[in-house]
C-alpha cells in the first residue's frame, strides 16, 4: 500500500498508524517511508509528493514490496508519481476535492485522469475527502487549516473499513498522542469515525489482488488484469456473440452485484442492452420477457435479491425459457454483511424453490473464470432451455487478477434446438414442445414467428401440446421430465479433472468458488490432491468414482457446510467439512494446517 500526498497532508503519520493496525491484526508487514527531499516543497507538485509505502500480508513479508496494490492519492501529483508503480488491479483511493484545474496543471495533467481510460485497470474509489472531513469536524470550531489536518485520519478511517481493521487501536493512539490538545484529539477521532462510517454507508469494500499461481507457472500467452465484474460482463457479451443474439441484462442495484451492470453498460456495441428495473422481481421478470422475445435474458443480484426472484425462476423452469441468473454471494442472513464475501447461497441455488423445480447451478472460481462460466451458463441455458444460476463469491466482483485473454474464435457456437420447419398439416402448439432427445431442450419459438402461435405459462402444461393440464399422469411425467432435463446437463460437461496432486491417495480437498486460490496453494504445499468444482448441479458424472479413490474428502467452504451436504446427498459419501464464515477468505496456512491434522488423524 502506498499513501501519497503533499508534505503537509500527514501522510507519514497515517501510514505508521495503518502499519500499527496491520500488526495488531496479526499480519506481517514492512514499510518504506518516501519523503520529498525538500522540507517544504511547493504544494500540489510532483516533486513535493510525500509517500509512505507498506507491504502487508498473511504470509511472511520480506520487503516493502515493489508494486503497491493500494494507493491513496491526496492530489493529482501524488497520483501521477505513484501510478507507474502500481500492480494492475490495484485499489486507488482519490480525493476528488483536490482534482481542481490548478492542481491538474501543476501535476502536468492535460486531462482529468479520472475521466478516460487511464485508471481502467484499477479499482478506483473516489470521495470528496476534504469536504467530508470538514463537515465531520465542523462542530469543533477549528480553523480551516486545523480542520484540514484531520483529513489523514478521515482517510485512515475509510481504509480501516475497506480492509476490515479495528478502529480502537488507532483511536487509543490519538488519545495518548493528543492528550494535551483535547479539541484536536476529539476532532481527529471524529474524523476517523466519519471516514469509517463513510465506507460503511457507501458499502465500499476492496480486496487485494490475489495471485494464486506463481508467475513461473503462468502459461504463455497474452494477459490482462481483470475483475470478476469485467470478466463476467465480457463473458455475457461473448455468449451473445457465440449465439448470435442480443443480450438484455435486467437488474436492480444491490451490493456487490452493481459493478456488473456498470460494466455491461460499456459493452453496448456488442449487442448488449441494460434495463434497470424497479425491483428484483421486475428485473428477473423483464429478463424472462426478453428471453420469451428471443433475446438472451440475464439478471444478477445477491442472496436477498435472489430470494425475491425465486418465484420467477419457477416460471422460467415451467415455460422452458433460457435465462442466466448471477448471484454475487455475500454474508447473511437478511441484509447480513453486504460487503463481505461468503459461499452460503448454495442451498438456495440448488434446493431453494417451491415444488420440484430443478435448475442447473454453476460456480466461478476466480475473477477470470467468471468469463468462462458466463459463457457456459448461457450455453447450458440455451441448449436445455432452462434458467441457470451462476454463483460467484461476492468479493470477486471487484477483485483483480492476471487473466490469460481467451480467444473468442476458439469457442464453439451456442445453439438451441432449431425451430422446426412448418409443414401444411403441422400443429404449431405441438411444435413448440418437440424437445431434443438428448438435451430435452425445446425449440426457442418466439412471438413474431408466423404459424407457430401458442400459449405458455406457469400452469402445468401438457407434455405434448403445452395446453393447461391437471392430468395426474401428466404432472408426474412433467416433474420427472424437468429433473431429467437438468440431469441431462451432466451428459454435456467434461469429466471432473484433478486440479493438483495424485489421482488417488489419503486425502483430496474439494472446493468450489473463490477458495480455489488458497486451496491450490495449501494442496501444493502439503501434497494433497485438489478437486475444484465448477458444475455444482448436476455434478460431473465421474465425481463419485473419482472421490472414492481417496481415504478422506475434505471440503473447505465459506459457509456452514453446504457443499458437504450436497456431496452427501448426491454421492452418498461422508466428506469432512471445514467451515469458515468470518467474511474473510481462507488463509493458506489454516488450510494447510487442517490438511496436516486430517492426515495425522488417518495415521494414528
Amino acid at each position: 500500500m502506498r499513501l501519497a500526498g503533499d508534505s503537509g497532508d500527514g501522510i507519514q503519520l497515517m501510514g505508521s498508524q495503518f502499519a500499527v493496525s496491520t500488526a495488531l491484526s496479526g499480519r506481517d508487514f514492512a514499510t518504506f517511508p518516501d519523503y520529498p527531499a525538500e522540507i517544504r516543497a511547493p504544494a500540489g507538485t510532483t516533486f513535493g509528493v510525500s509517500a509512505y509505502q507498506i507491504n502487508l500480508g498473511g504470509e511472511p513479508i520480506t520487503t516493502a514490496g515493489d508494486a503497491p496494490d493500494v494507493l491513496v492519492a491526496f492530489n493529482p501529483a501524488a497520483l501521477k508519481v505513484s501510478l507507474p508503480l502500481l500492480h494492475p488491479g490495484a485499489v486507488i483511493v482519490l480525493n476528488n476535492d483536490s482534482f481542481t484545474a490548478r492542481n491538474l496543471t501543476k501535476a502536468g495533467y492535460d486531462d482529468d485522469p479520472r475521466d478516460g481510460n487511464t485508471l481502467d485497470q484499477f479499482q478506483v474509489v473516489t470521495a470528496d475527502i476534504s469536504h467530508l472531513n470538514f463537515e465531520a469536524v465542523r462542530s469543533f470550531g477549528l480553523s480551516k487549516s486545523e480542520s484540514g489536518r484531520c483529513k489523514n485520519f478521515w482517510t485512515l478511517g475509510l481504509l480501516l473499513w475497506m480492509f476490515d481493521r479495528q478502529l480502537e487501536p488507532v483511536e487509543a493512539w490519538i488519545r495518548r498522542r493528543l492528550a494535551g490538545k483535547p479539541t484536536m484529539r476529539d476532532a481527529n477521532i471524529a474524523a476517523l469515525h466519519a471516514g469509517h462510517a463513510f465506507g460503511e454507508t457507501a458499502e465500499l469494500s476492496a480486496s487485494l489482488p490475489q495471485v494464486s499461481v506463481e508467475t513461473a507457472q503462468m502459461a504463455p500467452g497474452e494477459y490482462r488484469s481483470v475483475t470478476g465484474a469485467e470478466a463476467l460482463a465480457l463473458g455475457i457479451a461473448a455468449a451473445g456473440e457465440l449465439a448470435e443474439r442480443p443480450v438484455l441484462f435486467c437488474s436492480y442495484p444491490i451490493t456487490p452485484s452493481s459493478p456488473l451492470l456498470h460494466r455491461l453498460t460499456r459493452l453496448q456495441e456488442l449487442g448488449v442492452g441494460t434495463f434497470q428495473a424497479e425491483d428484483e422481481i421486475a428485473a428477473i421478470c423483464a429478463a424472462i420477457g426478453a428471453s420469451y422475445g428471443g433475446m438472451i435474458g440475464v439478471t444478477s443480484s445477491s442472496g436477498p435479491g435472489i430470494a425475491l426472484k425465486t418465484e420467477a425462476m419457477g416460471l422460467a423452469v415451467s415455460a422452458e425459457l433460457p435465462l442466466l441468473i448471477v448471484n454475487w454471494q455475500r454474508g447473511g442472513p437478511s441484509t447480513g454483511l453486504p460487503t463481505k464475501t461468503e459461499q452460503s447461497d448454495l442451498y438456495q441455488a440448488v434446493y431453494g424453490r417451491n415444488a420440484d423445480t430443478p435448475m442447473p447451478v454453476l460456480a466461478a472460481g476466480s475473477s477470470g473464470e467468471c468469463f468462462d462460466m458466463a459463457v457456459e451458463g448461457i450455453r447450458v441455458a440455451m441448449r436445455h432451455m432452462t434458467p441457470v444460476i451462476l454463483l460467484v463469491d461476492g468479493y470477486l466482483s471487484n477483485a483483480s487478477e492476471p487473466w490469460l485473454i481467451p480467444v473468442i474464435e476458439s469457442l464453439a457456437p451456442i445453439e438451441s434446438r432449431p425451430v422446426p420447419e412448418l409443414t401444411g398439416d403441422s400443429n404449431p402448439e405441438m411444435l413448440a414442445y418437440q424437445r431434443d432427445p438428448a438435451s430435452l431442450g425445446r425449440p426457442w419459438i418466439t412471438p413474431g414467428m408466423p404459424g407457430l402461435v401458442h400459449r405458455t405459462g406457469g400452469l402445468e402444461k401438457d407434455y405434448v401440446s403445452g395446453h393447461i393440464s391437471y392430468d395426474p399422469d401428466n404432472h408426474q411425467r412433467m416433474t420427472e421430465f424437468r429433473q431429467a432435463k437438468v440431469d441431462a446437463v451432466a451428459g454435456f460437461i467434461p469429466d471432473q479433472a484433478i486440479e493438483l496432486g495424485d489421482d488417488s491417495g489419503d486425502i483430496v480437498v474439494v472446493g468450489w468458488g473463490s477458495t480455489y486460490g488458497p486451496i491450490y496453494q495449501a494442496a501444493r504445499r502439503t501434497g494433497a490432491s485438489f478437486v475444484h468444482l465448477r458444475h455444482i448441479h448436476p455434478l460431473p458424472p465421474n465425481l463419485g468414482e473419482l472421490l472414492a479413490r481417496y481415504d478422506k474428502v475434505l471440503v473447505p467452504e465459506m459457509n456452514n457446510g453446504q457443499l458437504a451436504t450436497l456431496l452427501r446427498d448426491k454421492l452418498g459419501i461422508q466428506p469432512i467439512s471445514f467451515c469458515k464464515v468470518s467474511g474473510q477468505p481462507f488463509l493458506i496456512s489454516e488450510l494447510a494446517g487442517r490438511i496436516e491434522t486430517e492426515r495425522k488423524g488417518s495415521a494414528s
Binding site: 457479451a237 456495441e269 405458455t456
Partner: protein
C-alpha cells in the same frame, strides 16, 4: 393486413373456464372483435397476464400468449417489448393482480410509458381465491376475509394511473360492446402505455357491484360517454350536462337546455379535467378520459442505445482492456 380475419379467428380451441355469466366472456368477445377490426396479426400479437380470473385470458386468444406470475405481467411484458418493439403486447390484469401484488410494476410501467396495452378487469373482489375483498373493494365490503366489512380505503385505478404518470386512461363496461370496442381500438392505436379500466361483473362473489351505472335501464342517466372536443352531455336526449363549479372545485349536473353555455367540453389532454372525471360518481365517466402522447419507453431505449441493440463490434475488440502483456 389480415382483413379476412374475423373475431372467430382469434378464438382458441381451449374450453373457456370462467363461471357462466361472468363478465369476462363479454370482454373476450369484444377483444377478439377489436383485434379483427384493427387487422391484428396473430403472430405479432401477444397477450401477457398475471394470476387471477382475468389472467386466464391469453389461453383463449389465438395469438401468442404468456400466463406469468401474480402481479408481474407488466414486468415480463416490458422485457418482451424491449426485445421486440414490433410486437403488439397486451397485458391483462385484475384489481388484485394489478393494484395489490403487482401495484409497483404497474406504477413503473405507466411512468416509463412502455408501449403496452394494459387492460385492468376491475370487479372489486378476489374471484379466483373465492371472494376476499380487493384493493378496489369499497369500504365495508363483506367478504370471507372481512365478515364485519372491510376497513380499507379503496384505490382508484384512474387516480393511481394518472398519479403514476400514465398517458392514456380509459374506462369501459364489460358488456358495452360499442364503448369497450371503441376504447380497445384507441388503446391499440396508442404509442405508449395505454391503461384501460374495464368494469367487470363477478357474478359469483360481487354480483351487480356496478349495477348503479351499468344497468341498461338507468344507462342514460348514469353513464357519461366522453368524446374529445364534444360537450359532456348525458341523460335522455342528452338533456343533462356537466359543469365545473368554481365554488366547490367539483362537477355539477346542469340542465343542458337551460344553460348550454355552462356545459364543459371534453379535452382529453387536460389532466386536471381527467382527475375530476375519474372521481365523478353519477354519472360515471366512460371512454377516453385522458390521452396525452409522449415518447414510448422502448423508442427512447433504442434511440439512446448507441447501436440500437445491434452488434457492431466483436468481444475481441474489447477483451484486451487498456493494458495487456505477454508471457513468453
Amino acid at each position: 393486413m389480415n382483413e379476412q380475419l374475423t373475431a372467430r379467428d382469434f378464438a382458441t380451441s381451449q374450453e373457456v373456464r370462467w363461471c357462466p355469466g361472468c363478465g369476462d366472456y363479454a370482454i373476450l368477445k369484444t377483444v377478439t372483435r377489436a383485434l379483427a377490426d384493427v387487422g391484428a396479426k396473430p403472430e405479432s400479437t401477444v397477450f401477457v397476464s398475471g394470476i387471477g380470473c382475468a389472467s386466464r385470458f391469453p389461453y383463449y386468444v389465438e395469438t401468442y400468449g404468456f400466463h406469468t406470475i401474480h402481479g408481474r405481467a407488466p414486468a415480463v411484458a416490458t422485457g418482451l417489448k424491449l426485445a421486440n418493439p414490433e410486437l403488439d403486447v397486451w397485458v391483462v390484469t385484475g384489481d388484485g393482480d394489478g393494484l395489490s401484488i403487482g401495484g409497483n410494476h404497474l406504477l413503473h410501467t405507466l411512468r416509463r410509458n412502455v408501449g403496452l396495452k394494459i387492460l385492468l378487469f376491475n370487479n372489486e373482489i378476489y374471484g379466483l381465491t373465492k371472494g376476499q375483498y380487493s384493493p378496489t373493494s369499497r369500504t365495508g365490503t363483506v367478504s370471507p376475509s372481512s365478515p364485519a366489512g372491510s376497513v380499507d380505503t379503496p384505490v382508484s385505478p384512474g387516480q393511481f394511473a394518472l398519479g403514476a404518470g400514465a398517458r392514456f386512461f380509459a374506462r369501459a363496461i364489460d358488456t358495452d360492446k360499442v364503448g369497450l370496442g371503441n376504447v380497445l381500438r384507441q388503446a391499440h392505436a396508442f404509442d405508449g402505455a395505454s391503461f384501460t379500466e374495464i368494469f367487470q361483473n363477478c357474478i359469483v362473489y360481487n354480483e351487480d357491484v356496478f349495477a348503479a351505472f351499468t344497468d341498461r335501464k338507468n344507462a342514460a342517466d348514469s353513464q357519461l360517454h366522453l368524446k374529445h372536443g364534444e360537450p359532456m352531455l348525458f341523460g335522455e336526449n342528452n338533456g343533462k350536462g356537466i359543469r365545473f363549479n368554481p365554488q366547490t372545485y367539483a362537477f355539477d349536473v346542469v340542465d343542458a337546455a337551460e344553460s348550454p353555455g355552462d356545459v364543459l367540453v371534453h379535452d382529453e389532454k387536460n389532466a386536471v379535467l381527467a382527475r375530476l372525471l375519474i372521481d365523478l360518481q353519477l354519472p360515471v365517466a366512460l371512454g377516453i378520459i385522458y390521452r396525452q402522447p409522449a415518447e414510448a419507453f422502448e423508442s427512447a431505449f433504442y434511440a439512446h442505445h448507441p447501436t440500437r441493440m445491434r452488434r457492431t463490434k466483436s468481444v475481441a475488440d474489447f477483451i484486451r482492456g487498456p493494458n495487456s502483456w505477454t508471457v513468453e
